[in-house]
Protein backbone atom coordinates (compact mmCIF):
# COMPACT_ATOMS: atom_id res chain seq x y z
CA UNK A 1 0.00 0.00 0.00
CA UNK A 2 2.85 2.34 0.86
CA UNK A 3 4.22 2.02 -2.63
CA UNK A 4 0.82 2.85 -4.10
CA UNK A 5 0.56 6.06 -2.10
CA UNK A 6 4.13 6.95 -3.04
CA UNK A 7 3.44 6.43 -6.74
CA UNK A 8 0.27 8.49 -6.51
CA UNK A 9 2.04 11.32 -4.70
CA UNK A 10 4.89 11.23 -7.22
CA UNK A 11 2.46 11.36 -10.15
CA UNK A 12 0.66 14.28 -8.54
CA UNK A 13 3.89 16.22 -8.02
CA UNK A 14 4.88 15.66 -11.66
CA UNK A 15 1.53 16.64 -13.16
CA UNK A 16 0.39 19.32 -10.70
CA UNK A 17 2.29 22.28 -12.20
CA UNK A 18 0.59 21.81 -15.55
CA UNK A 19 -2.73 22.77 -14.01
CA UNK A 20 -1.51 25.40 -11.58
CA UNK A 21 -1.00 29.12 -11.85
CA UNK A 22 2.43 30.57 -11.00
CA UNK A 23 1.31 31.12 -7.43
CA UNK A 24 0.50 27.43 -6.90
CA UNK A 25 3.78 26.41 -8.50
CA UNK A 26 5.69 28.81 -6.27
CA UNK A 27 4.06 27.35 -3.17
CA UNK A 28 4.84 23.81 -4.31
CA UNK A 29 8.47 24.77 -4.95
CA UNK A 30 8.61 26.29 -1.49
CA UNK A 31 7.24 23.04 -0.11
CA UNK A 32 10.03 21.07 -1.80
CA UNK A 33 12.69 23.46 -0.48
CA UNK A 34 11.34 23.40 3.07
CA UNK A 35 11.01 19.63 2.97
CA UNK A 36 14.73 19.33 2.24
CA UNK A 37 15.52 21.43 5.32
CA UNK A 38 13.08 19.34 7.37
CA UNK A 39 14.68 16.09 6.17
CA UNK A 40 17.98 17.43 7.48
CA UNK A 41 16.45 18.27 10.83
CA UNK A 42 14.77 14.86 10.94
CA UNK A 43 18.19 13.23 10.65
CA UNK A 44 19.49 15.26 13.57
CA UNK A 45 16.37 15.11 15.72
CA UNK A 46 14.41 12.08 14.62
CA UNK A 47 17.21 9.60 14.01
CA UNK A 48 20.02 10.83 16.23
CA UNK A 49 17.80 12.35 18.93
CA UNK A 50 19.62 15.72 19.11
CA UNK A 51 17.23 18.67 19.34
CA UNK A 52 18.28 21.60 17.19
CA UNK A 53 16.67 25.02 16.95
CA UNK A 54 19.26 26.27 14.49
CA UNK A 55 18.05 24.82 11.20
CA UNK A 56 16.88 28.25 9.94
CA UNK A 57 20.41 29.56 10.45
CA UNK A 58 21.75 26.88 8.10
CA UNK A 59 19.08 27.58 5.50
CA UNK A 60 20.18 31.21 5.83
CA UNK A 61 23.88 30.43 5.46
CA UNK A 62 23.18 28.34 2.37
CA UNK A 63 20.96 31.08 0.91
CA UNK A 64 23.51 33.83 1.57
CA UNK A 65 26.43 31.87 0.18
CA UNK A 66 24.52 31.26 -3.04
CA UNK A 67 23.02 34.73 -3.28
CA UNK A 68 26.27 36.53 -2.58
CA UNK A 69 28.46 34.48 -4.87
CA UNK A 70 26.05 34.35 -7.81
CA UNK A 71 25.36 38.10 -7.73
CA UNK A 72 28.48 39.91 -6.49
CA UNK A 73 30.92 37.17 -7.31
CA UNK A 74 29.19 36.26 -10.59
CA UNK A 75 29.91 32.60 -9.88
CA UNK A 76 27.97 29.89 -11.64
CA UNK A 77 25.34 28.16 -9.53
CA UNK A 78 26.80 24.72 -8.90
CA UNK A 79 30.00 25.67 -7.06
CA UNK A 80 27.95 27.91 -4.74
CA UNK A 81 25.53 25.06 -4.17
CA UNK A 82 28.39 22.79 -3.15
CA UNK A 83 29.95 25.51 -1.04
CA UNK A 84 26.61 26.15 0.67
CA UNK A 85 26.44 22.50 1.64
CA UNK A 86 30.08 22.32 2.69
CA UNK A 87 30.05 25.46 4.83
CA UNK A 88 26.89 24.37 6.64
CA UNK A 89 28.36 20.91 7.13
CA UNK A 90 31.46 22.44 8.75
CA UNK A 91 29.53 24.88 10.96
CA UNK A 92 27.07 22.13 11.91
CA UNK A 93 29.97 19.93 12.96
CA UNK A 94 31.22 22.67 15.29
CA UNK A 95 27.72 23.30 16.65
CA UNK A 96 27.57 19.62 17.51
CA UNK A 97 30.23 20.01 20.22
CA UNK A 98 27.89 21.46 22.88
CA UNK A 99 25.61 18.47 22.22
CA UNK A 100 28.38 16.27 23.57
CA UNK A 101 28.06 18.02 26.90
CA UNK A 102 24.41 18.89 27.33
CA UNK A 103 21.06 17.48 26.24
CA UNK A 104 17.35 18.25 25.96
CA UNK A 105 16.22 21.80 26.67
CA UNK A 106 19.78 22.92 27.40
CA UNK A 107 20.80 21.88 23.92
CA UNK A 108 17.67 23.56 22.55
CA UNK A 109 18.85 26.82 24.09
CA UNK A 110 22.41 26.54 22.84
CA UNK A 111 21.16 26.03 19.29
CA UNK A 112 18.57 28.76 19.70
CA UNK A 113 21.32 31.16 20.75
CA UNK A 114 23.35 30.17 17.71
CA UNK A 115 20.39 30.88 15.43
CA UNK A 116 19.92 34.33 16.94
CA UNK A 117 23.59 35.11 16.59
CA UNK A 118 23.64 34.10 12.92
CA UNK A 119 20.57 36.23 12.28
CA UNK A 120 22.27 39.23 13.88
CA UNK A 121 25.38 38.70 11.77
CA UNK A 122 23.21 38.61 8.62
CA UNK A 123 21.62 41.85 9.65
CA UNK A 124 24.50 43.82 11.13
CA UNK A 125 27.50 42.94 8.98
CA UNK A 126 26.59 45.09 6.03
CA UNK A 127 29.93 44.67 4.26
CA UNK A 128 29.29 40.94 4.04
CA UNK A 129 25.55 40.47 3.65
CA UNK A 130 24.34 43.90 2.56
CA UNK A 131 22.56 43.98 5.93
CA UNK A 132 18.88 44.64 6.19
CA UNK A 133 18.73 45.82 2.56
CA UNK A 134 19.19 42.25 1.41
CA UNK A 135 20.56 40.91 -1.85
CA UNK A 136 18.20 41.25 -4.78
CA UNK A 137 18.19 39.86 -8.31
CA UNK A 138 19.57 36.46 -7.39
CA UNK A 139 19.73 34.68 -10.76
CA UNK A 140 18.18 31.28 -11.39
CA UNK A 141 20.64 28.74 -12.75
CA UNK A 142 20.56 26.83 -15.99
CA UNK A 143 21.11 23.11 -16.35
CA UNK A 144 22.95 21.63 -19.37
CA UNK A 145 22.28 24.88 -21.19
CA UNK A 146 18.59 24.66 -20.36
CA UNK A 147 17.36 27.79 -18.55
CA UNK A 148 15.45 27.30 -15.30
CA UNK A 149 14.20 30.87 -15.24
CA UNK A 150 10.52 30.01 -15.51
CA UNK A 151 8.55 29.11 -12.41
CA UNK A 152 7.60 25.68 -13.73
CA UNK A 153 11.11 24.76 -14.80
CA UNK A 154 12.49 25.83 -11.46
CA UNK A 155 9.85 23.80 -9.67
CA UNK A 156 11.00 20.63 -11.46
CA UNK A 157 14.55 21.53 -10.52
CA UNK A 158 13.57 21.80 -6.83
CA UNK A 159 11.66 18.54 -7.11
CA UNK A 160 14.67 16.79 -8.64
CA UNK A 161 16.77 18.06 -5.74
CA UNK A 162 14.20 16.77 -3.28
CA UNK A 163 14.27 13.33 -4.89
CA UNK A 164 18.06 13.30 -4.86
CA UNK A 165 18.24 14.36 -1.20
CA UNK A 166 15.55 11.82 -0.25
CA UNK A 167 17.43 8.98 -1.93
CA UNK A 168 20.65 9.99 -0.23
CA UNK A 169 18.90 10.18 3.15
CA UNK A 170 17.21 6.82 2.50
CA UNK A 171 20.57 5.23 1.79
CA UNK A 172 22.16 6.91 4.80
CA UNK A 173 19.51 5.69 7.22
CA UNK A 174 19.88 2.12 5.99
CA UNK A 175 23.65 2.26 6.13
CA UNK A 176 25.62 1.36 9.27
CA UNK A 177 25.76 5.11 9.94
CA UNK A 178 22.01 5.42 10.17
CA UNK A 179 21.85 2.47 12.53
CA UNK A 180 24.57 4.07 14.63
CA UNK A 181 22.50 7.29 14.81
CA UNK A 182 19.54 5.36 16.18
CA UNK A 183 21.76 3.52 18.63
CA UNK A 184 23.08 6.86 19.92
CA UNK A 185 19.50 8.11 20.29
CA UNK A 186 18.14 5.06 22.06
CA UNK A 187 20.90 4.40 24.53
CA UNK A 188 24.20 6.25 24.16
CA UNK A 189 25.95 4.31 26.90
CA UNK A 190 25.07 0.95 25.43
CA UNK A 191 26.10 2.22 22.01
CA UNK A 192 29.42 3.31 23.45
CA UNK A 193 29.96 -0.05 25.11
CA UNK A 194 29.25 -1.78 21.82
CA UNK A 195 32.09 0.14 20.28
CA UNK A 196 30.09 2.86 18.49
CA UNK A 197 32.02 6.11 18.47
CA UNK A 198 29.09 8.17 19.86
CA UNK A 199 31.12 11.36 19.76
CA UNK A 200 31.74 11.15 16.08
CA UNK A 201 28.21 10.11 15.21
CA UNK A 202 26.64 12.90 17.28
CA UNK A 203 28.77 15.47 15.48
CA UNK A 204 28.06 13.77 12.16
CA UNK A 205 24.30 13.89 12.77
CA UNK A 206 24.52 17.61 13.36
CA UNK A 207 26.76 18.21 10.38
CA UNK A 208 24.66 16.28 7.86
CA UNK A 209 21.43 17.81 9.11
CA UNK A 210 23.00 21.26 8.79
CA UNK A 211 24.36 20.46 5.34
CA UNK A 212 20.87 19.62 4.08
CA UNK A 213 19.72 22.93 5.56
CA UNK A 214 22.43 24.52 3.41
CA UNK A 215 21.13 22.82 0.26
CA UNK A 216 17.65 24.01 1.08
CA UNK A 217 19.01 27.54 1.40
CA UNK A 218 20.95 27.28 -1.86
CA UNK A 219 17.61 26.56 -3.57
CA UNK A 220 15.68 29.13 -1.54
CA UNK A 221 17.80 32.04 -2.79
CA UNK A 222 17.15 31.56 -6.52
CA UNK A 223 13.53 30.58 -5.81
CA UNK A 224 12.62 33.89 -4.16
CA UNK A 225 15.39 35.77 -6.02
CA UNK A 226 15.79 38.01 -2.99
CA UNK A 227 17.57 37.23 0.28
CA UNK A 228 17.27 39.30 3.43
CA UNK A 229 17.82 38.38 7.09
CA UNK A 230 14.20 38.28 8.30
CA UNK A 231 13.14 34.82 7.03
CA UNK A 232 16.04 33.17 8.86
CA UNK A 233 15.16 34.28 12.36
CA UNK A 234 14.11 31.88 15.08
CA UNK A 235 10.54 31.58 13.77
CA UNK A 236 11.58 29.38 10.85
CA UNK A 237 13.58 27.09 13.14
CA UNK A 238 10.56 26.56 15.36
CA UNK A 239 8.44 26.02 12.28
CA UNK A 240 10.80 23.38 10.90
CA UNK A 241 10.87 21.68 14.28
CA UNK A 242 7.07 21.59 14.34
CA UNK A 243 7.06 20.20 10.79
CA UNK A 244 9.32 17.32 11.74
CA UNK A 245 7.55 16.51 14.98
CA UNK A 246 4.05 16.88 13.59
CA UNK A 247 4.79 14.71 10.57
CA UNK A 248 6.46 12.11 12.73
CA UNK A 249 10.03 12.54 13.88
CA UNK A 250 12.12 9.47 13.13
CA UNK A 251 9.81 8.47 10.27
CA UNK A 252 11.31 8.84 6.83
CA UNK A 253 8.25 10.54 5.31
CA UNK A 254 7.51 12.60 8.43
CA UNK A 255 9.11 15.80 7.08
CA UNK A 256 7.20 15.51 3.78
CA UNK A 257 3.89 15.33 5.60
CA UNK A 258 4.84 17.96 8.17
CA UNK A 259 5.84 20.38 5.42
CA UNK A 260 2.49 19.79 3.70
CA UNK A 261 0.68 20.75 6.89
CA UNK A 262 2.91 23.76 7.54
CA UNK A 263 3.52 25.09 4.01
CA UNK A 264 0.75 23.90 1.67
CA UNK A 265 -2.33 23.65 3.88
CA UNK A 266 -2.26 27.28 5.05
CA UNK A 267 -2.45 28.37 1.42
CA UNK A 268 -5.40 26.14 0.62
CA UNK A 269 -7.13 27.14 3.82
CA UNK A 270 -6.44 30.83 3.34
CA UNK A 271 -10.15 31.61 3.85
CA UNK A 272 -9.83 30.44 7.45
CA UNK A 273 -7.12 33.14 8.00
CA UNK A 274 -6.21 33.57 11.67
CA UNK A 275 -8.29 30.57 12.63
CA UNK A 276 -5.96 28.36 10.62
CA UNK A 277 -2.99 29.12 12.85
CA UNK A 278 -5.14 28.54 15.91
CA UNK A 279 -6.26 25.21 14.52
CA UNK A 280 -2.64 24.36 13.71
CA UNK A 281 -1.60 25.19 17.27
CA UNK A 282 -4.40 23.05 18.70
CA UNK A 283 -3.41 20.21 16.37
CA UNK A 284 0.19 20.41 17.61
CA UNK A 285 -0.94 20.31 21.23
CA UNK A 286 -3.37 17.44 20.74
CA UNK A 287 -0.77 15.45 18.80
CA UNK A 288 1.81 15.98 21.53
CA UNK A 289 -0.64 15.03 24.27
CA UNK A 290 -1.90 11.82 22.71
CA UNK A 291 0.33 10.80 19.82
CA UNK A 292 3.79 12.30 20.33
CA UNK A 293 5.08 10.20 17.46
CA UNK A 294 3.35 12.50 14.98
CA UNK A 295 0.91 11.90 12.15
CA UNK A 296 2.86 9.00 10.69
CA UNK A 297 3.20 7.39 14.09
CA UNK A 298 -0.55 7.66 14.41
CA UNK A 299 -1.12 6.17 10.96
CA UNK A 300 1.30 3.39 11.84
CA UNK A 301 -0.70 2.53 14.93
CA UNK A 302 -4.04 2.65 13.15
CA UNK A 303 -2.78 0.36 10.40
CA UNK A 304 -1.37 -2.17 12.80
CA UNK A 305 -4.65 -2.48 14.71
Amino acid sequence: MGIGILALAGAFLLVAPLGLKPYGIFILSMWAVMTIAAIGLNLTLGYAGQISLAQAAFVGIGAYVTAWLTTKGAWPFWPTYALGFASCFAVGWILGYPALRVQHHYLAFVTLAFNTLVYLVFRNEEWLTNGIYGISNVPRPSLFGFSLKGGREFYYFCLANLVFVSLAAWWLIRSPWGRAFVAVRENPIRALSLGVDTRRYTLMAFAIGAGLGGISGALYAPLTQFVDPTPFALGLSLNLLLMVVLGGSGYFFGPFLGAIVAVLLPEWLRFAQGYYLMGYAVLVMVMMAFWPTGLLGLADRLLKK
Binding site: P98, T116, L120, N124, Y280, A281, M288, A289, P292
Partner: protein, 249 residues
Amino acid sequence: MLPAFFILIGTHTFGLPFWLAAILGGVATLILLGLAFKKVMVDPMIHHGVLPLVIATIGLAILMKEAVREFYGADAWPFPALWATTDVTLFGAVFAVQSLLILATCIVVVGALQLFLAGTLTGRCMQAAAQNPAVARLLGIRVERMILYTFLINAALVWIAALLVTPIYLAKFTNGEILGLYAFIAALIGGFNQVRGAIVGGLLLGVIDNFCAVYVSSSYRMAVPLLVLIAVILVRPQGLLGRVEERTV
Protein backbone atom coordinates in the same frame (compact mmCIF):
# COMPACT_ATOMS: atom_id res chain seq x y z
CA MET B 1 0.70 39.10 27.81
CA LEU B 2 -2.51 37.16 28.40
CA PRO B 3 -3.43 38.63 31.81
CA ALA B 4 -3.04 42.13 30.40
CA PHE B 5 -5.55 41.30 27.70
CA PHE B 6 -7.96 39.69 30.16
CA ILE B 7 -7.94 42.96 32.04
CA LEU B 8 -8.35 45.02 28.88
CA ILE B 9 -11.31 42.87 27.84
CA GLY B 10 -12.80 43.52 31.25
CA THR B 11 -12.47 47.30 31.03
CA HIS B 12 -13.21 47.75 27.31
CA THR B 13 -15.79 45.11 26.49
CA PHE B 14 -17.69 44.90 29.75
CA GLY B 15 -17.01 48.42 30.94
CA LEU B 16 -15.76 47.31 34.35
CA PRO B 17 -13.73 49.61 36.58
CA PHE B 18 -10.03 48.88 36.42
CA TRP B 19 -9.60 47.28 39.86
CA LEU B 20 -12.47 44.85 39.29
CA ALA B 21 -11.18 43.95 35.83
CA ALA B 22 -7.71 43.44 37.30
CA ILE B 23 -9.04 41.01 39.91
CA LEU B 24 -11.22 39.14 37.43
CA GLY B 25 -8.27 39.03 35.03
CA GLY B 26 -6.23 37.50 37.85
CA VAL B 27 -8.85 34.83 38.46
CA ALA B 28 -9.06 34.04 34.74
CA THR B 29 -5.27 33.75 34.63
CA LEU B 30 -5.23 31.37 37.59
CA ILE B 31 -7.87 29.16 36.03
CA LEU B 32 -6.53 29.16 32.48
CA LEU B 33 -2.76 29.34 32.87
CA GLY B 34 -2.63 27.55 36.21
CA LEU B 35 -5.34 24.94 36.44
CA ALA B 36 -6.18 24.27 32.80
CA PHE B 37 -2.57 24.33 31.62
CA LYS B 38 -1.65 21.75 34.24
CA LYS B 39 -4.66 19.48 33.78
CA VAL B 40 -5.06 19.63 30.03
CA MET B 41 -1.48 19.87 28.81
CA VAL B 42 1.05 18.83 31.39
CA ASP B 43 -0.72 15.81 32.89
CA PRO B 44 -1.25 13.80 29.70
CA MET B 45 2.16 14.71 28.34
CA ILE B 46 4.53 14.39 31.22
CA HIS B 47 5.19 10.67 30.66
CA HIS B 48 6.22 11.28 27.05
CA GLY B 49 9.25 13.22 28.24
CA VAL B 50 10.34 16.82 27.96
CA LEU B 51 10.48 17.36 24.20
CA PRO B 52 6.76 16.86 23.42
CA LEU B 53 5.90 19.16 26.29
CA VAL B 54 8.24 21.87 25.02
CA ILE B 55 6.77 21.57 21.54
CA ALA B 56 3.22 21.60 22.85
CA THR B 57 4.08 24.75 24.77
CA ILE B 58 5.27 26.35 21.54
CA GLY B 59 1.88 25.37 20.12
CA LEU B 60 0.11 26.92 23.08
CA ALA B 61 2.06 30.13 22.63
CA ILE B 62 0.98 30.30 18.97
CA LEU B 63 -2.61 29.63 19.99
CA MET B 64 -2.73 32.39 22.61
CA LYS B 65 -1.02 34.87 20.34
CA GLU B 66 -3.31 34.18 17.40
CA ALA B 67 -6.42 34.21 19.58
CA VAL B 68 -5.55 37.64 20.94
CA ARG B 69 -4.79 38.88 17.43
CA GLU B 70 -7.99 37.48 15.99
CA PHE B 71 -10.34 38.61 18.72
CA TYR B 72 -8.58 41.71 19.99
CA GLY B 73 -6.60 43.02 17.05
CA ALA B 74 -2.94 43.38 16.19
CA ASP B 75 -2.63 46.92 17.54
CA ALA B 76 -0.81 47.80 20.70
CA TRP B 77 -2.99 49.17 23.49
CA PRO B 78 -2.23 51.65 26.20
CA PHE B 79 -2.60 50.12 29.64
CA PRO B 80 -3.46 52.12 32.75
CA ALA B 81 -0.63 52.50 35.24
CA LEU B 82 -1.29 51.42 38.81
CA TRP B 83 0.46 54.50 40.14
CA ALA B 84 1.05 58.03 39.05
CA THR B 85 3.88 58.49 36.57
CA THR B 86 5.68 61.19 38.52
CA ASP B 87 9.30 61.42 39.61
CA VAL B 88 10.74 61.77 43.08
CA THR B 89 14.20 62.92 44.08
CA LEU B 90 15.99 60.66 46.54
CA PHE B 91 19.57 61.22 47.65
CA GLY B 92 20.07 63.62 44.79
CA ALA B 93 19.02 61.19 42.04
CA VAL B 94 15.75 61.25 40.15
CA PHE B 95 13.65 58.11 40.30
CA ALA B 96 10.34 57.39 38.65
CA VAL B 97 7.71 56.49 41.24
CA GLN B 98 6.65 53.67 38.94
CA SER B 99 10.09 52.00 38.97
CA LEU B 100 10.40 52.29 42.74
CA LEU B 101 7.01 50.73 43.31
CA ILE B 102 7.76 47.92 40.88
CA LEU B 103 10.95 47.24 42.79
CA ALA B 104 9.10 47.32 46.11
CA THR B 105 6.43 44.94 44.84
CA CYS B 106 9.10 42.54 43.62
CA ILE B 107 10.84 42.52 47.00
CA VAL B 108 7.55 41.89 48.82
CA VAL B 109 6.48 39.12 46.44
CA VAL B 110 9.86 37.39 46.54
CA GLY B 111 10.02 37.66 50.32
CA ALA B 112 6.55 36.21 50.65
CA LEU B 113 7.39 33.38 48.26
CA GLN B 114 10.57 32.54 50.12
CA LEU B 115 8.75 32.58 53.45
CA PHE B 116 6.02 30.40 52.07
CA LEU B 117 8.38 27.84 50.58
CA ALA B 118 10.73 27.64 53.53
CA GLY B 119 8.47 28.51 56.45
CA THR B 120 5.15 26.77 55.93
CA LEU B 121 4.32 23.10 55.85
CA THR B 122 2.75 23.33 52.40
CA GLY B 123 5.81 25.12 51.10
CA ARG B 124 8.18 22.46 52.35
CA CYS B 125 5.95 19.72 51.02
CA MET B 126 6.15 21.38 47.63
CA GLN B 127 9.93 21.41 47.74
CA ALA B 128 10.00 17.80 48.80
CA ALA B 129 7.63 16.85 45.98
CA ALA B 130 9.87 18.61 43.47
CA GLN B 131 13.11 17.07 44.70
CA ASN B 132 12.05 13.51 45.08
CA PRO B 133 8.45 12.68 44.22
CA ALA B 134 8.73 9.01 45.14
CA VAL B 135 9.99 9.59 48.66
CA ALA B 136 7.59 12.48 49.15
CA ARG B 137 4.72 10.21 48.23
CA LEU B 138 5.94 7.62 50.72
CA LEU B 139 5.90 10.30 53.42
CA GLY B 140 2.24 10.96 52.70
CA ILE B 141 2.63 14.17 50.72
CA ARG B 142 0.01 14.55 48.03
CA VAL B 143 2.47 15.12 45.23
CA GLU B 144 -0.15 15.80 42.54
CA ARG B 145 -1.71 18.53 44.63
CA MET B 146 1.67 20.10 45.34
CA ILE B 147 2.51 20.22 41.65
CA LEU B 148 -0.83 21.89 41.02
CA TYR B 149 0.02 24.51 43.64
CA THR B 150 3.24 25.36 41.87
CA PHE B 151 1.35 25.94 38.66
CA LEU B 152 -1.16 28.18 40.41
CA ILE B 153 1.63 30.19 42.04
CA ASN B 154 3.30 30.49 38.68
CA ALA B 155 0.09 31.86 37.13
CA ALA B 156 -0.32 34.33 39.98
CA LEU B 157 3.24 35.58 39.51
CA VAL B 158 2.60 36.01 35.80
CA TRP B 159 -0.45 38.09 36.62
CA ILE B 160 1.51 40.36 38.96
CA ALA B 161 4.27 40.73 36.38
CA ALA B 162 1.71 41.70 33.75
CA LEU B 163 0.21 44.36 35.99
CA LEU B 164 3.64 45.80 36.63
CA VAL B 165 5.20 45.92 33.17
CA THR B 166 2.30 46.47 30.79
CA PRO B 167 1.85 50.20 31.59
CA ILE B 168 5.41 50.72 30.36
CA TYR B 169 5.54 48.15 27.57
CA LEU B 170 1.96 48.58 26.23
CA ALA B 171 -0.30 45.60 25.61
CA LYS B 172 0.43 43.89 22.32
CA PHE B 173 -0.12 40.36 21.14
CA THR B 174 3.57 39.69 20.48
CA ASN B 175 4.75 40.92 23.89
CA GLY B 176 4.88 37.45 25.41
CA GLU B 177 7.58 36.17 23.06
CA ILE B 178 10.57 38.22 24.13
CA LEU B 179 9.64 38.61 27.79
CA GLY B 180 8.88 34.91 28.21
CA LEU B 181 12.21 34.00 26.64
CA TYR B 182 14.07 36.35 28.99
CA ALA B 183 12.26 34.94 32.01
CA PHE B 184 13.16 31.41 30.99
CA ILE B 185 16.79 32.32 30.38
CA ALA B 186 16.95 34.05 33.76
CA ALA B 187 15.67 30.90 35.47
CA LEU B 188 18.16 28.72 33.58
CA ILE B 189 21.10 30.96 34.38
CA GLY B 190 20.20 31.15 38.06
CA GLY B 191 19.28 27.52 38.48
CA PHE B 192 15.86 26.02 38.19
CA ASN B 193 15.27 24.70 41.66
CA GLN B 194 15.83 27.90 43.61
CA VAL B 195 13.81 31.07 44.07
CA ARG B 196 17.04 32.89 44.81
CA GLY B 197 18.52 31.42 41.67
CA ALA B 198 15.81 32.93 39.49
CA ILE B 199 16.33 36.32 41.11
CA VAL B 200 20.09 36.25 40.77
CA GLY B 201 19.66 35.06 37.19
CA GLY B 202 17.16 37.80 36.44
CA LEU B 203 19.28 40.52 38.01
CA LEU B 204 22.45 39.35 36.33
CA LEU B 205 20.70 39.11 32.99
CA GLY B 206 19.15 42.55 33.36
CA VAL B 207 22.43 44.16 34.36
CA ILE B 208 24.48 42.47 31.65
CA ASP B 209 21.84 43.19 29.02
CA ASN B 210 21.67 46.87 29.90
CA PHE B 211 25.40 47.32 30.30
CA CYS B 212 26.02 45.79 26.91
CA ALA B 213 23.35 47.96 25.35
CA VAL B 214 24.98 51.05 26.81
CA TYR B 215 28.68 50.27 26.49
CA VAL B 216 29.08 47.72 23.74
CA SER B 217 26.93 47.45 20.64
CA SER B 218 23.19 47.76 20.79
CA SER B 219 22.79 46.03 17.45
CA TYR B 220 24.14 42.80 18.95
CA ARG B 221 22.25 43.26 22.19
CA MET B 222 19.81 40.43 21.49
CA ALA B 223 22.62 37.90 21.45
CA VAL B 224 24.17 38.83 24.78
CA PRO B 225 21.77 37.11 27.20
CA LEU B 226 21.93 34.02 25.02
CA LEU B 227 25.72 33.97 25.01
CA VAL B 228 25.75 34.30 28.78
CA LEU B 229 23.33 31.40 28.88
CA ILE B 230 25.54 29.23 26.69
CA ALA B 231 28.51 29.96 28.89
CA VAL B 232 26.54 29.00 31.99
CA ILE B 233 25.09 25.88 30.40
CA LEU B 234 28.46 24.62 29.26
CA VAL B 235 30.31 25.40 32.46
CA ARG B 236 27.67 24.90 35.14
CA PRO B 237 24.61 23.15 33.69
CA GLN B 238 22.78 23.18 37.02
CA GLY B 239 22.74 26.98 37.05
CA LEU B 240 24.73 29.43 39.16
CA LEU B 241 22.95 28.69 42.43
CA GLY B 242 21.26 25.45 41.50
CA ARG B 243 21.97 22.14 43.17
CA VAL B 244 23.08 19.25 41.07
CA GLU B 245 20.19 17.00 40.20
CA GLU B 246 20.54 13.42 39.21
CA ARG B 247 20.69 13.35 35.48
CA THR B 248 19.07 10.67 33.44
CA VAL B 249 21.55 8.64 31.53
